[in-house]
Amino acid sequence: MSFIDAARHRLRTLLRPAAVDRERDEEFAFHQSLAEGEHADATGDASDARYAARRAFGNVASIKEDVRWMGATRWIDQLGQDLRFASRTLRRSPVFAIVATLSIGLSIGANAAVFGVINALMLERLAIRQPTELVQIWREDGAGGREPYFTAAEFDALKTAAGLDVSFMTNASALHAEINGTSYSRLGLTAVDGGLFPMLGVVPAAGRLLTPDDDRTAAPVAVLGFASAVRYFGSPRDAAGQQITLQGHTFTIVGVLPHRFRGLYLEWPMTIVVTRNTSMQLLRNTWNPRDSTELTLVARLRAGAEQQTRMSLDGAFAGCCAKGELLPTDWGTIGPFRGDNQRLGFSDISRGIPAGKLDMRVMFGRLLYTLMAGVAIVLLIACTNVGNLLLARATVRSRELAVRMSLGASRGRIVRQLLAESMLVAAVGAIAGIVLAVWGTAALAENLPGILSVLEPFVAITPNPAVITFTAAVAVACTLVFGVVPAIRATRIDPVVDLRNGAPSSTRSGRLDRGIIAFQMALALVLVASVGLLGATLRNLRSGIGDMHPDRLLVAEVDSAGTSIPRGGERAAYDRILERLRTVPGVSSVSGTEVMPLVYMGFSTRTLDIPGFEHLNVDRLRPEDNGLGAGIIFVTPGFFATTGTGLVSGREFTDADVPGAPPAVIINEAIARQFFQGRDPIGQHIGFRGGGRALQIIGVARDVKQTDLRAPNPRTVYLARAQRRNDGDRFTFAMRTVGSAASSAPGVRAAIAAAAPEVFIRSVQPMAELVSFSVGREQALRAVAIVFSTVAVGLAAIGLYGVMAFHVTSRRREIGIRMALGADRREVVSMVMRQSLFVVAAGIALGVPLALGASSALGALLYGVSPFTTGPFVIAVAVLVGTGVIAALIPSRNASRVDPMTAIRAE
């Protein structure tokens, strides 16, 4: 079996190179000795013989090299040749090379960037030792309910059983802090068990991390997160050893967390970390772990000992806590805290602890995958465009290829050469793409708008192995997509025919060309339609705050917690500020409120007591009815006029609504609709359960979303601030401005500082910014979709133009004959237009189903638009038809200018 011999021979060369080499030496030595012998026989001189034989043999090393590499070099050589040849060919048509490389490079870059973000946010595991061993511990009630929180006593009991393999973290805060000369109020902290960092196996960026010893001695030491170290001190190295003040105690920064480990939650990076006992003893008034149930427990289930660790934890929990023995007494009534048969559950947190409703993966996952689909479509369009260019080149080069084939180049070899060209374009594009992606995302990360700014740590991508592998795979896929078909088609030539005719017949590549353009049109339709859908979504979301003219509404939040203002003194301070703000230039009216819509701050909710609904069993209401609860907002007179919230009926609060006057209330439409169906609520009395019905309804306010623009309109009651005993810590001023709200912000800051210097200004921002923050995802996505669809439509238009122009040129003779036979210009123009619109129509026919699919995939990102809303589709179709007409304008005019005589004579 000779092929087996051959295979064995090749394999041996490959696998046992040393042995093969030795044998080769022996064989050559044998050959040489025989040659020497012969020479000596002839001349009788042995030393001369050796010299002559060696000379005759030639360079032994180079022969060996020839023999050894014969197999491998053939294709490596050819590949090198092909690539050199390709780069020469590309250099000869620089416009094609630049256009192709640039379009592929940009779109590969966009893909690399989006994938990089997805990888960092969605795929990457925590930067700790063996992240897959890490689990979060849950408290389960055996009936499907579970809670992630435990008490410190329960943790201590579990720790006795599981030792160093179980640990916890929890959130804490310092009311005031001083870091590097700057004061902060309500600074978020993380309190951890001293064993957490050793268990995770995190290597510090500087200094050391917290240890069980720090915990035991309640040492006044803290660890900073990497970003915090940079923000406060410039670098981790500079931060280590520094001192900071937390609630009057001096803490030493002993070390800094590494850049890649930001904490166990993606959403809440560790900024300042202290141990549990430190937090308990020095920051006591903010957090009391003794009876807090807010410890998040994590454990390491070591490979090979998972079962054992689990069982010892289970056993310990059953012994100490299964009946809620170690829970604070007032906690025994809720969900999983209630059962008598509680047990532990474990969940994989190798990618971090999920943050429920605020989970960035939930908030941005769909957005990112939608973006991924978008950039993939753009890449596909770019690929088809380059493919089309290659096809055109193949047509132009058919003569050259025919010559080469007739000179004996095999078809496979020529296909390989053409593919080498595509490969070169894709490879250069991929490298440029990665560079662009790294550079672009770094710039983007610092300028993320609104809510997207929380993505900052994930947006700046690094060229890590995952990203590079992905990009390389994309580049290869690109080569295949845009290279193979043109290469095969280009070589499907009959040298004899093509050499004789000079130019190929026009019909050959026409149908494929037009198919590709139609496909591009279909993809462009998907993108244009999604711009429309996202635009409608944005309009719907923005209308959620009513008619506020948010760019002329300035919102200032202040806080007096932890300041020198005594409890009960807040009102006087806020009144001073209100007075002062009225004098700020550019501010036309001022009002005060506890909270403005979209300022993410809780406000109190109480159960309504409304005539006719006394006996409604709150527990029986559907959850989405939110019981009979309503949010309560205290406002000053003029609030509705100033903010533009507006009233449907009745009046707003005036300076007459003071203590002693009848308590007044303004309800919103949601309450009026639900509880006063058709009746006039004005003058009715309502109240809160258990408090009597002392509040007289004086007005009905328009519905305004409070925290979530996508939620149904919340029930809201407005009360007069003057009729409340005092204000809370936090207060908000809303100001109508004459010019842009942003331009009045500095004056407002100064006025607040002058009226009440001790009050902490949390923020001063135009309402428009709060709105943009809320709709940041949709806004960003629409902006990207606009860019993508412009590119897509533009590319498709250029492609269509090219095809039509080619079509007209290659049919000059036919057009000339038609015109000679009496066709007038209009008919010629309409013939070309028809051709163009036929391609567009095919694209639309293909694109509409695609776009419907895409919009139902967008689903959760849309709001108030059904994926089947026709408006955006009609617009998209109109855009494409317009594109088709424009792309055909010049070719059809050229067609109409064909001079029959010249055209016919020309061939």
Binding site: S2, H9, E23, F30, S33, L34, F57, G58, V67
Partner: protein, 110 residues
């Protein structure tokens, strides 16, 4: 010394090996002797050619003792090598005749 056309050396080696199995030196010697020193095979061509033939499975090799008692690699032709040789030889002869006709054309009858 004549320059060999590509592929011809392989054909000569295969033909030589149909006589008996030989080591490389013997192959070169045989070709030189039979061609009356018109074809002197460079070792730099011989061994790469043998390697190519082995990779195609037309030739196999085995180490055994030579007449002088030293170990030598003996090459022998395989069945597929013989088939290939047949095809090559007829192609070569057809080519030869064609070349001969070009070089020494018979007068065309018109």
């Amino acid at each position: 010394m004549a320059t060999l056309l590509p592929g011809t050396l392989e054909m000569l080696i295969l033909r030589t090996l149909t006589i008996e199995r030989m080591h490389g030196y013997a192959i070169a010697q045989h070709i030189a002797r039979v061609s009356q020193n018109a074809l002197l095979i460079e070792k730099g061509s011989l061994y790469p050619a043998l390697e190519r033939l082995q990779r195609q499975g037309w030739v196999t090799s085995r180490w055994s003792e030579s007449a002088t008692g030293r170990r030598a690699r003996y090459y022998s032709i395989t069945a597929s090598g013989r088939r290939a040789l047949g095809e090559e030889v007829s192609a070569f002869q057809a080519m030869n005749e064609a070349v001969a006709r070009v070089l020494d054309p018979e007068p065309e009858k018109s």
